[in-house]
């Protein structure tokens, strides 16, 4: 079942990790917590490498939170690891044009320093 966890890297950066299926039920389960964790006054990396299924509802939750974070002066980026299915979904839905996508967490962290 879908789960969510987070780790604060610094007072400017938080990593949120999503696991399992982000289908309708999975997204319903975590989206309240995702909103609470993402709207934190920090930049946010959302790690999707352990997401086994990403639906339009899951993408909508990511984009909505990325949009709110940007309006508040922050930034959200995504990490996919070697997850080809999620990576392909983000490309075909053009989500990667809205939220920057990185393979590794280190690359995502470095993007906030540049």
């Amino acid at each position: 079942m879908a789960s969510i966890s987070c780790k604060d890297v610094s007072d400017r950066l938080r990593i949120i990790t999503l696991i399992d299926r982000m289908d309708v039920q999975g997204t319903e389960k975590i989206e309240g917590k995702l909103g609470e964790l993402a709207q934190c006054g920090r930049n946010v990396i959302v790690d999707l490498h352990e997401v086994t299924f990403l639906s339009s509802v899951g993408i909508r939750a990511l984009v909505a939170n990325g949009k709110m974070l940007k309006a508040a002066g922050g930034k959200m980026v995504l990490v996919v690891g070697e997850n080809a299915a999620v990576s392909k979904t983000l490309k075909t839905t053009v989500t990667d044009a809205l939220l920057p996508v990185f393979v590794r967490q280190e690359e995502a962290m470095a993007s906030f320093l540049s």
Binding site: V24, Q25, F53, S56, V63, A64, G66, K67, K70, L98
Partner: protein, 165 residues
């Protein structure tokens, strides 16, 4: 069950509510595993199934929620090359995901608005979508091919799933 064209066909009826999605997904996965459907094709079928079900619930109206959703999965071929046709029979307002007009993709976060992604995902993951309205029922089928002749390998000329298309 084996059809006239040699494809294995399975059916499932579910209540039109979100709580049933996981049962439909498990059904799809079980048949695909049994038939050796490759992971990528299985994922594409999973996307089509879940997005189509979500659409029925979100946009089908009260009539869609009042009747069961019928699912049929026909698979031919094997793990090297094959094809699967997933068909949904659902009530509700007429809706053809193959021809429904969607908004252009947003270019920035500020432009992004909810809606339309599910249709885009069905279209990009199915090799073909067929739709017909039969009485009060939307009959939508998604064809997914793999191996020789699949969308990843040029022209689509894989084995037949059934006689209709």
């Amino acid at each position: 069950m084996r059809s006239q064209a040699g494809a294995v066909e399975e059916t499932l009826s579910i209540v039109a509510e979100a709580g049933e999605f996981s049962r439909a997904t498990a059904w799809l996965e079980s048949i695909c595993n049994e038939r050796g459907v490759p992971a990528d094709a299985r994922y594409r079928l999973d996307i089509c199934l879940n997005e189509a079900l979500a659409n029925v619930l979100a946009h089908g109206g009260g009539a869609a929620l009042a009747v069961p959703i019928g699912l049929r999965l026909a698979i031919s071929g094997g793990s090297d090359a094959g094809a699967a046709r997933l068909t949904l029979n659902a009530g509700g307002v007429p809706f053809d995901p193959a021809s429904h007009r969607t908004r252009p993709s947003p270019r920035t976060l500020e432009e992004a608005e909810p809606g339309g992604l599910g249709i885009l995902m069905m279209r990009t993951n199915a090799d073909r979508i067929a739709y017909e309205r039969l009485g009060d029922t939307n009959c939508t089928s998604f064809l997914v091919r793999w191996g020789t002749g699949s969308s990843d390998d040029g022209p689509r000329s894989g084995p037949p799933v059934d006689s209709g298309d």
